[in-house]
């Protein structure tokens, strides 16, 4: 009897961890990644919240684990469709390659919000205005600081909720990770420039995870970071290579202004794909305005995609989540896939090997 094969679409943290778990259960995996390298958005981060863990170390150890005889990684393969055929799924790529598998896990992740859409912040126009992703690249030396080296005490501002909690952008959700990411980045910036003045412009501080609230208090007490409640209204150019920002300080009940050397936009998470479901096939499409993330069958059966037998979803393709949540979700999904294969395929071989 042939061993069952699972196709995993997207080799970010969710896809990688699901693949590793399935391989440990003796299931064969085809792991597809449209980029040149696996790693997803994790490959962009310098250090991780809330513990400042080195992102490269985590990425390396995860990627080491996928060199497993049961895992076959296909890079630069963009999956565009899955089709049902006799209890199996046919996966097709942009290059019309086809792969047959017994189950599918969608782990296509998220895209960062395109900051040029919030025109009032002038991203792409003023060099001082950068995204949280670009700041991570400055931390690890892959990008120049947007201000002169002579500035010993740079002034920096962080804008929360850029492209999140915003019906104007069609994104009503909270991206969950950007509040704590801003706090982490503000601290890291102060460590590099101890004389810097740093303000975070927030609407609510959502410190939901373990150690997040503690990190926030640390930012206040040990790093003297100022938290201003109010959405930044506008950024405009100012004298001496600075950017001028305006906001309503809603706690002070007064308007506020400041000239900054660097303005960081905490860009939110948006869905990477939209699943267009037909009777016997699912097309992977570019999401349209307001379309949102993939819907699982229900919140309490969150690993199964709709009522499509053999199709599962894990990670941020279902909505914003931190790495810790994504890794746990991927492992849980791998187990559900295993249970599905065991039931559907009556596959004695997997049972024998694992018990």
């Amino acid at each position: 009897m042939q061993q069952p094969t699972v196709s995993i679409i997207g080799a970010g943290p969710a896809g990688l961890n699901a693949a590793i778990s399935l391989a440990k259960m003796e299931i064969r995996v085809n792991l597809f990644e449209k980029q040149v390298k696996p790693g997803g958005q994790l490959s962009h981060w310098h250090t991780l919240f809330p513990d400042m863990y080195d992102a490269k170390t985590l990425l390396k150890s995860t990627i080491n684990e996928i060199s497993h005889p049961h895992i076959k990684l296909y890079t630069t393969v963009n999956i565009r469709q899955i089709k049902r055929q006799n209890n199996q799924w046919i996966i097709s790529s942009d290059g019309n390659q086809e792969f047959i598998s017994d189950a599918v896990i969608i782990t296509s992740g998220f895209n960062l919000f395109d900051a040029t859409k919030k025109e009032e912040y002038g991203y792409g126009i003023y060099p001082q205005v950068i995204t949280s992703l670009e700041l991570e690249q400055m931390f690890n030396g892959r990008r120049e600081w947007p201000f002169s080296k002579d500035i010993e005490a740079p002034k920096a501002g962080f804008v929360h909720c850029v492209g999140s909690r915003d019906t104007k952008c069609g994104n009503n959700w909270c991206s969950k990770v950007c509040c704590v990411k801003a706090v982490k980045q503000a601290i890291e910036f102060k460590k590099q420039f101890p004389k810097a003045e740093v303000s975070c412009f927030y609407m609510d501080l959502r410190m939901f995870g373990k150690g997040y609230e503690e990190l926030y208090m640390k930012a206040q007490v040990d790093f003297n970071i100022q938290f201003i409640r109010g959405r930044l209204s506008e950024a405009s150019p100012s004298n001496g290579n600075k950017v001028h920002v305006k906001a309503e300080d809603t706690l002070m009940n007064r308007p506020l202004k400041q000239n900054l050397d660097m303005l960081v936009l905490m860009v939110g998470m948006t869905p990477a794909i939209w699943l267009n479901q037909h009777a016997e096939r699912i097309d992977f499409e570019k999401p349209k305005f307001k379309q949102g993330f993939i819907n699982p069958v229900e919140n309490y059966q969150s690993t199964i995609y709709q009522n499509t037998p053999g199709v599962f979803a894990a990670g941020t393709c279902k909505g914003p989540a931190s790495l810790i949540d994504v890794i746990q979700d991927a492992k849980a999904t791998a187990f559900e896939v295993f249970a599905y294969l065991k039931k559907e395929k009556q596959n004695v071989e997997i049972l024998e090997k694992t018990t």
Binding site: E120, Q220, K246, M252, R254, P255, L256, K257, N259
Partner: protein, 110 residues
């Protein structure tokens, strides 16, 4: 480069200008009572304050003014406190409010 004008403005009379340097004596107060930085404007201190009931003084507003470098009323506002300490029992962030108030009432502006 041309851009859409959203018409955002600030009224100059009321604006808080964060470009202004905080006075050294204010920095000193934060240094002597660093727990001030912990305040999250939850308002518990004001909810229990008897002095505030009669004078309108609210400690979290004093604290906010200090954060934003708005110092003109700081000393006078602080003077309304009678140092009973109820706020400190109520504060969830452990701010040493009475000590901060004492420091503020003793401000000697240069």
């Amino acid at each position: 480069m041309s851009r859409i004008s959203f018409g955002y403005s600030v009224s100059e009379g009321k604006v808080i200008n964060l470009d202004q340097q905080k006075p050294a004596w204010l920095e000193k107060i934060f240094e002597l009572e660093p727990s001030l930085h912990r305040c999250i404007s939850c308002g518990n201190c004001a909810a229990v304050c008897t002095a505030g009931h009669f004078t309108g003084m609210k400690f979290y507003r004093i604290c906010l003014n200090a954060f934003r470098g708005q110092t003109s009323d700081l000393k006078n506002d602080a003077k309304a406190c009678m140092l009973c300490g109820k706020c400190q029992f109520a504060c969830p962030r452990g701010v040493n409010i009475r000590h901060a108030i004492m420091l503020m009432t003793q401000i000697q502006k240069p």
